[in-house]
Subunit: 447 residues, 2 copies
């Protein structure tokens, strides 16, 4: 069906009839039009953008990738480019300008009026992944001594450019944020009322340099649709809207997934990564884990005599260390995630430890029993079977302990707990698990 | 500092002075007051809720856990209970009623007026994790033939109860959703204009039975702050607000984390799970993986003679299968996440496969070289060292292949790709890796 729509759009573009085009476009959401647009040939894309009204064109452009935005803006007539960049929201402009070559960015910025260019320049200079970088300056501000009627008049005048009109940010004389009023409150207030009379003081805001992950936490705690960003002197810089933060939430979760899988996080969506970039992100941890795992070789060589005497012990090596690794991986992913969303904190360390060790004990007893059964089925002697079962018990408990403690400690040390990935804990438990296993063998089998 | 605030609040409650209390409360955000409230003794909580204005009390209650909401509502005077449940938003009421015992729910529902109780009952009957269950009926609807003035008058009348006033949902004669207008548009429109003249048709909406994960996708694609939910006949049921969906996003990501860690997802936040519940969620996969891993024992017993002849082969077993597992885990977590956020699809299967196998080849060559070095350091003969190095190469490539294909196939089969957890792929690669290793040994060492 979508292909049919694209064909229809292509035909309309050939006919070069603005009315048909606008009638067609009005049937769809901007996101869907953007999706169609990116399927068109370059010439058709330019024709499209030159034929729709500029505010609509700007809105559709915002849904495209920065590369495509630039290609279009660079190739259409100058007055369209100028109109479009001035209509696009400031956070989108910042994102676009930072994604292209500085020379190209310079060219586009020349289309902006001086004061707006200054604002954009400021936004671009904030550190990546901070509140400042996510902020848009397209919000509505009002002064505390205005009446609701003055404010409504102002909203009517500037509202077209704002991303969010449901909240109006009330500023003091130095431009400092003193409160927030909702459009609902302004509409519901009696005519003549001054904003100062009902403004909510102590508005929630975030400092420009706050990390985006913390901004997400603030926003989801307070259930806001937009959050103001302020400088050190409380001067208002801009707002961050919830739709941009949803992208941040996805991004941060994706990073944690990749870390927990034992890889450095990818900076770009999957397909934008070359084989070489995937290789670079993965080889580091693989090597570290390889070196850590290498000592299992030394442990096994150390027990070479035990092993030759009772070769059946070797049969259970992958099973035992695998089970230990699996237990550790279960605990570690659960805890790293719980730390990331704030469900647990360092002060809960003891509670977490007790819960995990108790769970580990139950799991250990179960896995020990199954290991015993498995050993009998493999036809080994009673001694070896008991060694396997008891080792399974202890390895599972040990894995639970290590996996419970490490993420908490890293969190306390302000390091990212997701460093303790599944592969990391598995590797750690492999070597130590072998020591447990062979120690049991030596004691029980008197080897 | 927070403790000081709680102390101050306790003192104010003892003084039993409403004015002091309201002055204190006005200094904080509702979320922060709720946090303090949950730290108070039960008696103090009841005193607090009975002394603040009911609309404020209802807003604060919404930030508490359902258990605590019920404890408070059950113990205060009936007219407070009645006032509060009527002020709370309908999605919160539904969440509360579903979290308590049906008898208790029945008691609370008696406080609601008949028509509202009917609506709540309908919302409660939708399946968990669907759009219907997340919906709230506290939205503003208008008729298509109203003027902007009539609409503003209506907003002034009912706006106090709405969760979102920035959008007004325009309904046809049968209550079917025909369009959406923003409050901004109503304010900006000339007096006397009818909604029909500027309403956006084809509004985005989701069907009541859509899964919450899909609702999130729609909402983030279209950058909305609220999304209308409609029945099969397009009749409007309610809206879902973005703040509730942020919780869903967190929830769904947490589930995927837990699955990827090789555990069934927990239904509740971490600390709400007993040891027994953690045990139940984990033992299933541990056992399945144990059974799958158990065949490594059979593989090793099969090669018992090879192993006794060349005991040094055993030294490298954990290192080789560990490295294979780590490679697989890196690939699988990256792909499962990319599938979950829609970055890759089944049709990309071949592209993904080629990328992963190429990356696996590079990683395999690197790891093979390091394995060779490690083997020399452990002082084994050249033959065994080559076996180890070549096995490392093939095991890494093999792990990449398996990890690239499995999540895609599960996704295609409409199964959750997160089932292919890190532990799952590790286990799978363990046994097959051993077969690769011993086959190489037989060929190269002529054992």
């Amino acid at each position: 069906m979508e292909q049919i729509m694209i064909q229809e759009l292509k035909t309309i573009l050939i006919e070069n009839n603005k009315e048909y085009l606008n009638a067609f476009v009005s049937k769809f959401q901007h996101f869907d039009i953007a999706a169609m647009l990116s399927e068109l040939e370059q010439g058709e894309q330019l024709m499209f953008i030159s034929q729709v009204p500029i505010p609509l064109g700007a809105e559709i452009l915002e849904y495209l990738e920065p590369e495509l935005q630039y290609k279009i803006l660079d190739r259409i007539k100058d007055d369209f480019t100028s109109g479009l960049v001035n209509e696009m929201s400031s956070d989108m402009i910042v994102n676009l300008l930072l994604s292209i070559h500085p020379h190209q960015a310079k060219k586009l910025m020349d289309f902006l009026p001086d004061d707006y260019r200054g604002k954009i320049n400021t936004l671009m200079n904030y550190e990546p992944n901070t509140a400042g970088r996510l902020a848009t300056v397209d919000y509505i501000a009002a002064r505390i001594n205005w009446t609701v009627d003055q404010t409504l008049h102002h909203i009517r005048k500037v509202g077209h450019e704002a991303e969010i009109v449901s909240y109006i940010y009330v500023l003091g004389s130095r431009g400092e944020l003193v409160g927030v009023v909702s459009l609902k409150e302004i509409i519901l207030a009696r005519s003549g009322t001054k904003l100062g009379e009902f403004v909510q003081g102590n508005p929630i805001s975030v400092p420009v340099d706050m990390h985006q992950e913390e901004v997400v936490e603030v926003l989801s705690n307070y259930d806001l649709v937009a959050i103001p960003v302020v400088a050190q002197d409380q001067r208002m810089i801009g707002i961050i809207t919830v739709d941009d933060l949803i992208d941040v939430i996805h991004e941060e979760a994706t990073e944690d997934f990749q870390k927990l899988g034992g890889s450095q996080p990818l900076d770009e969506p999957y397909f934008k990564n070359s084989v070489w970039s995937l290789f670079k992100k993965r080889i580091g941890w693989l090597l570290i884990l390889f070196v850590a795992e290498a000592y299992t070789g030394s442990v096994l060589r150390h027990y070479e005599d035990t092993l030759s005497e009772q070769i059946a012990l070797a049969f259970f090596v992958p099973l035992l260390i695998g089970t230990g690794g699996n237990t550790g991986s279960q605990t570690v992913t659960t805890l790293v995630r719980a730390l990331a969303v704030g469900e647990i904190q360092f002060k809960d360390m003891f509670k977490v430890f007790r819960k995990e060790v108790s769970t580990g004990l139950c799991l250990g007893i179960s896995m020990g029993s199954f290991a015993l059964i498995r050993a009998f089925f493999l036809g080994v002697n009673v001694g070896t079977a008991s060694v396997v079962a008891i080792s399974a018990l202890f390895i599972v408990i040990w894995a639970s302990m290590v996996a419970a403690v490490l993420p908490m400690i890293l969190h306390k040390l302000k390091m990212d707990p997701a460093v303790v990935s599944g592969p990391f804990i598995t590797t750690l438990v492999d070597g130590t698990g072998l020591i447990i296993y062979f120690t049991m063998a030596k004691i029980i089998l008197h080897l």
